[in-house]
Symmetry: C2
Subunit: 324 residues, 2 copies
Amino acid sequence: MTDFLFKRMTLIGIGLLGSSISLAARQKGLVEHIAVHTRSDATLARAEELGLGDSYHKDVAESVKDADFVVVCTPVGVCGTVAKAIAPHLKEGAIITDVGSVKMSIIRQMQPHLPAHVHFVPGHPIAGTEESGPDAGFAELFINRWCILTPPEGTDEGAIEKVKTFWSTVGSNVELMDAHHHDNVLAITSHLPHLIAYNIVGTASDLEMVTNSEVIKYSAGGFRDFTRIAASDPTMWRDVFLHNKEAALEMLGRFTEDLTALQRAIRWGDGDALFDLFSRTRSIRRSIIDAGQEIAASDFGRHLKEGETHAPTLSSDDHEYTGS
Amino acid sequence: MTDFLFKRMTLIGIGLLGSSISLAARQKGLVEHIAVHTRSDATLARAEELGLGDSYHKDVAESVKDADFVVVCTPVGVCGTVAKAIAPHLKEGAIITDVGSVKMSIIRQMQPHLPAHVHFVPGHPIAGTEESGPDAGFAELFINRWCILTPPEGTDEGAIEKVKTFWSTVGSNVELMDAHHHDNVLAITSHLPHLIAYNIVGTASDLEMVTNSEVIKYSAGGFRDFTRIAASDPTMWRDVFLHNKEAALEMLGRFTEDLTALQRAIRWGDGDALFDLFSRTRSIRRSIIDAGQEIAASDFGRHLKEGETHAPTLSSDDHEYTGS
């Protein structure tokens, strides 16, 4: 029993993140008991079918009883409601964390409700896929991904250490960051990309001179890349934009300014301006691959042949298909 | 000898497309002799090292001598110059095609130079990766991709048939289309996605409140998806925008309008507008997968495990990682 990092972990919400946390924590022997709560009867039943917990709770108050680790895995917009509902039932010394993609708003929503005898360590694993729901989870989701913790000043160091240990054991690199800075970083690396992807897929759907079936048919020219993140969970992403409004609008404003300059370059045939931008953006992908945050195979490895596997250690100079 | 579709194919330009055509045509036994021309000494030497041709020509006029099939694989901006240079040396009945991502401009640039005794069948294989150069080619590039031909009215039917046979033999589905319509379809499915990807990577590079190393580190939140096409060949893409200006500006205008509406929804907290868009974009990816233009594995298959391969026939209901 002393081998477990936590005796009782409660997962509030059991979608892609909640189910992946369950599977990863189980695989690594991090927790003795996993209590699962979700509002939806169907999802709770499905979680039980999948064996994602040791106990299943329709009542959120009951789910956190005796928990020493509570992970809120709901959309950002309901975190305040969740905090209010669980607060009176949290045991002394319990550690509360979350997985939300915005942090300032979550702290504002949750902290006022939480009693002084618990430790609140807001967190954000930068990991996910375009799938959602309890069936979408897998234990390897967090491997080699970053997990950012944004504990408010004065948070208990021991609690922070335990949350760090949890994430590093499931495979992540953990970083502490100021919540405000987190929200700016994620606005450019995640929120704006999602907004743009959703937007172009919407624009493409609404054309009268090009049919939807043509868009689908000829999507290999680039469009299909955007449809992946535009297939992400709508509720989660609505809440992200409602709750990281300022940073999202700031990044969007910069993006639009830059796009307007590009539009002008196209209109006036300024090939040098286009070439300059198109050249300087090339190296950043290589850096992302070198940082272990992307696979090295070209075209996301879509052309991998039967029997080949993604080789994350592939050198940048390898051209694996040459002459084949 | 009568088994070959063409006796002598000349590739003008030997980058990703030219080298892939060479490898695919060879593999399928489509041509007896492959003549390779490129302006760059280094690239021509590399093509020879890779064995991409049977003869190598610094002189473009010499390269097309006796060719019955000429494929122009250069950036769009030099097609006119190429047509002018090869025109006097083309043999009677030769078929000229190209692989350019815009078609109206290519017809305008090339057709006036070409003699009446040759057949011009403009073409565009919707296939590529973010890599470029002769090392990047692979024979399978065209399999299950679309190739659009835009022959001007009155083009010899026999010539069109031979070009269709060429592309279908290397694995593509061939479609005939009006050049103007092609340019609209590609503006939304390929040109605008590239422009937006280049733009967001540029915007992210220029921030003062978030460092480039943070953008790279936390790119798994969505940003990294955009860096793939933003790593594409700068010369090729500069020329695409200079030569499909009207359609690109039209699609860009619509995209910006839609994005401005989204910006307003974020500013005013209109969650319903956000949710509506985010919901209706989800199904289009499934359609693209069903149309065989995308792999079914989530996250572009980045999480495939050792020994697993992309299974393009994976059912949409499979959740391959569940419970693992």
